[in-house]
Symmetry: C2
């Protein structure tokens, strides 16, 4: 059984999509082992508890980044997770955190990276005037929205789009792309060549 | 009749796609008034002459940028062009050139801008490891691959893609997108709001 650790800071809609994929067989032999949040009282934590999943708030205030990271790392290691999935986790991970799970932390970002890293990617995209937007599931490294790309999905920008309507259509793609990307990483049929995430040994080529 | 001026430096495959669109009615009431190249003996100039189109080589060597630009501008003005279309024209336009045709110069770039401006965009995209590539038709301003975006088309990156195979699939989309973008600009039903190219007055919303 593959074990996932989820980090979130809000409603955790991608967490719910991943959880559903583990229940429906889209993500076979996979379970969510622990859900962690840097914020208390967020809907994502409550949703995790409703589903009977171990869920913990890890306080940030009044602690050094090293203390905070240590608790995250210990919780994830105690839960014996194979993969850490960020699902609306709104903090940059420290280099020590990233190093503790090499090539084992994933995130989803609401743009076709390398375009529009950082906050408010959908608004950035609209203001730049792109006609194609999308989402990216990628490995996390110590740079913002920068690690190796696992999967991307394009979303057409409509003439009447607002940041809200565009975000909603991108989110639909995120919810499909994230479980699919997790399945690819867990399958062990892919590896990283330079910055490319490719099938091993030409078995899918 | 709308009149187009084409600038190229090589085979001019996008020029040929635009020319075909003027012949087949995809670009109605539109003709190519002049084809200019900064290089002699390129296939694009020969192809223009075969089609009976006015075609001129404008030498660059031994002339100042101002002298060179002046000849381009004069040739385009003499041909009474409504729109200047760069089709594989491998030089950055001077601010004076851009200012002579405000919001009237188009280019196509083989990436989903703002990702991968500059040379070898397809190779940049592969090396960065994106899973979605594409092309962008945009207005030209004095910055490299930066003007307002008229139209973009996404192209899936395949696991076995090389720069050559990816470029070939993107080029197919360029040949469809460029005439369509020209038609939108000439239709006068669109205008620029900030950096967004949108239908006027909500007539298409």
């Amino acid at each position: 059984m593959h074990r996932l650790g989820i980090l979130l800071s809000g409603r955790g809609s991608n967490f719910l999509a991943i959880h559903q994929a583990t229940e429906t067989g889209l993500l076979p032999d996979t379970e969510i082992a622990v859900v962690l949040s840097n914020k208390s009282d967020v809907p994502g934590l409550a949703a995790a508890r409703e589903r009977g999943l171990p869920a913990h708030h890890i306080p940030v205030a009044g602690r050094t980044p090293a203390e905070r990271d240590l608790e995250f790392i210990q919780r994830l290691q105690q839960a014996e997770v194979d993969l850490v999935c960020l699902a609306g986790y709104m903090r940059l991970l420290s280099p020590g955190f990233v190093a503790a799970f090499p090539n084992r932390i994933l995130n989803v970002h609401p743009s076709l990276l390398p375009s529009f890293p950082g906050l408010d990617a959908q608004r950035q995209a609209l203001e730049f005037g792109v006609k194609v937007a999308g989402c990216t599931v990628h490995f996390v490294d110590e740079h913002l929205d920068h690690g190796v790309i696992i999967l991307q999905r394009a979303v057409e920008v409509r003439d009447d789009d607002t940041a809200e309507t565009l975000s909603a259509r991108i989110l639909v793609e995120e919810h499909k792309a994230y479980p699919e990307a997790i399945a690819r990483v867990l399958s062990d049929r892919y590896h990283v060549e330079g910055r490319r995430f490719l099938p091993r040994g030409g078995d899918l080529r």
